[in-house]
């Protein structure tokens, strides 16, 4: 327990102080607003924004999650390999501290630090919206969406970002990750196989559809369930709340498995 807390605390501290952890999400947001056409602006336009505060805030979660997770994954990609690269690993490995607890502390600590700007952006916009519309309920929905949609998705991404650079150079992981994220979230699954609308969609299609009754800003989009003609439809049952919880559990289980795999790989390599 002490090891976990110590590692969490110091990994958090080191990551949260890194300027890029703040600059990358800020630039992403600025660029996105400049490109325009986003909910970030429509939210404050009485003529354009969704009437229902839940749709507005959940829609905001989807948009920021899709956008800021890219930087989130890239910023975490050096965290595990850096102990070896900085040659600190020998000192840490010679302590009696459990390497598993250290890894877990690093995962949660560095992940939380990288998620802070994301949370600040999300709750910032949600609060501004709540004030602008006089809808305090919006904040409740924002909290729920953060817990059910952001957190599992970010934990999923963070596990891959820590472990994958053990088997490939971190820059290559970043390229592949950004490529996958855009491909998985932009290209329609009936054109190419992607995880979109499956139970293991890191953007959280099932919780969005079944827990938040969210069907896009215009209410016309499907976020989970089968797509005629697409591969992987076995992973796209019709959404229900139980399946939404299952989907969250699956994301966390996969994250844990990836992390365990990374741990085993590193332990074997050191020997």
């Amino acid at each position: 327990m002490t090891t976990f807390v110590a590692s969490l605390r110091y990994e958090f501290r080191m990551q949260v102080r890194k300027r890029t952890v703040w600059i990358v999400p800020a630039l992403t947001l600025v660029l996105f607003v400049l490109i325009g056409g986003s909910l970030l602006r429509d939210l404050f336009d009485p003529g354009e924004r969704p009437v229902d505060p839940r749709t507005a805030v959940v829609g905001l979660a989807v948009q920021l999650h899709a956008l800021l997770s890219i930087g989130f994954g890239c910023l975490l990609a050096d965290r595990l390999i850096r102990d070896d690269r900085l040659r600190v690993a020998s000192i840490l490995d010679a302590t009696p501290a459990s390497p598993r607890a250290r890894l877990l502390g690093k995962y949660v600590g560095a992940g939380a630090a990288t998620a802070i700007p994301v949370a600040v952006a999300y709750f910032g916009f949600a609060a501004a919206y709540a004030v602008d519309t006089g809808e305090p309920r919006a904040l409740g929905w924002a909290l729920a969406a953060f817990g059910a949609v952001f957190v599992p998705g970010l934990l999923f991404v963070a596990a891959f970002a820590l472990a994958a650079p053990l088997v490939m150079p971190a820059p290559l992981f970043r390229v592949l990750f950004v490529g996958y994220w855009l491909w998985g979230n932009v290209v329609s699954p009936d054109m190419m196989p992607t995880l979109a609308r499956t139970l293991v969609h890191p953007l959280g299609g099932y919780p969005l559809a079944a827990l938040f009754d969210f069907h896009g800003i215009d209410g016309q989009e499907a976020w989970a369930g089968p797509i005629p003609g697409a591969t992987l439809n076995a992973l796209r049952p019709d959404p229900t709340p139980a399946l939404a919880w299952l989907s969250i559990a699956l994301l966390l289980i996969i994250a844990a498995a990836v992390l365990a795999g990374g741990h085993a790989l590193r332990a074997r390599r050191v020997r």
């Binding site: 002490t2 900085l86 040659r87 600190v88 020998s90 000192i91 840490l92 010679a94 009696p96």
Partner: protein, 302 residues
Amino acid sequence: MRIEISGLTKTYRGGVAAIDGLDLAVPTGMFGLLGANGAGKTTLMRILAGIVRPTSGRVTVGEHDLGTGAGRTAVQRDLGYLPQDLGVYPDLTARQFLDYVALLKGMDDRTVRRRRVGELLEVVALTEHADRRLRGFSGGMRQRVGIAQALLADPQLLIVDEPTAGLDPEERIRFRTLLSQFAGRRTVLLSTHIVDDIGQTCREVAVLAKGRLIFRGTVEELTRRAQGQVWSVVTDGPAPTEGTVVSALPHDDGMRYRIVAPSAPSPGALPLEPGLEDGYLAVATGRGNASRQPASPPGRRP
């Protein structure tokens, strides 16, 4: 804490046998480890620190068997390790880095930990830089942070791998003295290329070559290996080809060479008293006086 090593072998992936059937007992006190680059010193120390698993063989430290997970953890609880290839987190201050390592070593009590970190910063003369980020530290200052982290838990077993590399002469001598004083009833395993440091601190020493033990004995014994083999040669011509040149000094009549060789390397050579470095060279080049040592050819035993 006594270390017993028997039949120890470490073969890295790719087939390099870094340690090759090593038997060695390390008693309490300061113990020196010498050997050429690639001899396997670091590998041996990493095995003892529980970082690297041996391919075969048995190691016990005190009553703990390094072959078991519980044994390794028990040894690590009482271990200070200064790696040869030392790194620090550049984004932490010296104090924070030491605090982190102390936490990982299980020093849970905050007051005790803070006091200990403060003491060690004082010991390595970094108090005034304690709250600066390590990014801005010079190589020698980082090395001193490394020394401090190794001493944190007041370990019974201290393994230091070329600890004085990068230290200025004053700091080097200070640290050498510190090690001797620290040793007392503890075990300190010191590897270095500065033979003099071993002569100044250790009673016993082992020399490794290609993963094997080629000498184990006292510092005096190692020196005696070069008895009758050290020569002074003054020449204005080319250096003698016989033997190993230890030093070359400009001299009125050309150059004065100090040479380790089994017989006089040139007609005018004068015999000299051997030093520890001569003994090491004699052993390392396989020419040392044969005396009960495995590496010497059997035919030359007295």
